[in-house]
């Protein structure tokens, strides 16, 4: 059947696959025919994702990508890739005056430094094929807007958007495309530590013209587009997916 969005015969590596957007990206990519290599910090939850993957030949690697040793071990074990999706990320809502070096290092470490180091090592070890596609899950925060207590998170996502423009240029000779998806609020457990109440989230929904938060699968569909041959002339771009949030 004609399908320019197919991921058949593509090997895709996904970080943060044990929950939220990463989990949905993994499941949807498997449905589109790709062979997956997934990573996450929590073995039990990563295995839950793994069990939901369609098709065969998938690989799961439990790893905490904050550690450079863990990154090196992952790089050694992943197969040669047609696609990478960086979904691992954390939010630590804190007013700017309370953000110290510890928060800065934790948030920038997971959201920015890890995918940068990982990409460099994957390239160095020739694990990224010519013509591959790299997708970063960025955000509306730090690129189009921010939120109360979101300064460091925004900085990490703004940094990703800047990085991608330079990476796209530098990797163009290898025909490797690099893009971001910039979602608004998605129904995940990113605020599960409880700083933000359900009441506040319900109030926040009213600020979305489409009157709801996004679903993880809806982010996955845009990732599939960017991984597929349908986007083979798209690089250095940011795909906004926010239910109209940034229009207002």
């Amino acid at each position: 059947m004609y399908n320019p969005f197919s991921l058949k015969d593509k090997t895709v590596f996904i970080t943060g696959a044990s929950s939220g957007i990463g989990k949905a990206v993994a499941i949807e990519c498997s449905r589109m025919g790709s062979r997956l290599c997934i990573t996450g910090r929590n073995a039990e939850r990563l295995n839950e994702t793994y069990m939901q993957l369609e098709g065969s030949g998938h690989l799961q690697l439990v790893a905490d990508l904050q550690s450079e040793d863990a990154i090196r071990s992952v790089v050694d074990r992943v197969p040669v890739l047609d696609g990478i999706v960086y979904c691992a990320g954390i939010a630590r809502p804190l007013p700017f005056q309370f953000t110290g070096k510890e928060t800065l290092e934790e948030v920038m470490g997971i959201n920015f430094n890890s995918p940068v180091i990982l990409s460099q090592l994957l390239l160095e070890n020739k694990k990224i094929k010519k013509g591959a596609s790299i997708v970063f899950i960025s955000s509306v925060s730090g690129v189009f807007c921010s939120s109360a207590g979101g300064s460091i998170y925004s900085a990490s996502k703004g940094a990703i958007n800047g990085l991608v423009k330079g990476m796209a240029l530098d990797l163009a000779p290898k025909m490797i495309r690099v893009n971001t998806v910039n979602p608004g609020m998605i129904d995940t457990n990113i605020f599960s530590e409880g700083t933000i109440t359900q009441e506040q989230l319900t109030e926040d929904i009213k600020r979305y013209p489409l009157k709801r938060f996004g679903k993880p699968e809806e982010v996955a569909y845009s990732v599939i587009y960017l991984l597929s041959d349908a986007s083979s002339w798209v690089t250095g771009s940011s795909l906004l997916i926010d239910g109209g949030f940034t229009l207002l």
Binding site: F98, A148, G194, I196, Q200
Partner: protein
């Protein structure tokens, strides 16, 4: 941990409201300056000064500054 010190720490999170206005019985939501950002600041202050992780729900179910103090004390 003293209630009087907690009230002082709480008052320091506000820019415009006079420090003398803050009492243990003050209903913090009635303060004009109260906002979701100040609520985040209360959570951050409890962690920085008292090493206690408050949740947004702890703030939501509290009415007065003393209510929050009691939660912080119970979690210490």
């Amino acid at each position: 941990m003293e209630l009087i010190n907690f009230v002082k720490d709480f008052a320091e999170l506000f820019e415009e409201t006079d420090a003398n206005f803050f009492k243990p019985s003050t209903k913090f939501r009635d303060i004009e300056e109260w906002s979701s950002l100040v609520a985040l600041s209360v959570i951050a202050m409890a962690f920085v000064k008292y090493k206690v992780r408050l949740s947004g729900d702890d703030i939501r179910k509290s009415l007065t500054i003393e209510d929050i103090f009691n939660i912080v004390k119970a979690k210490q």
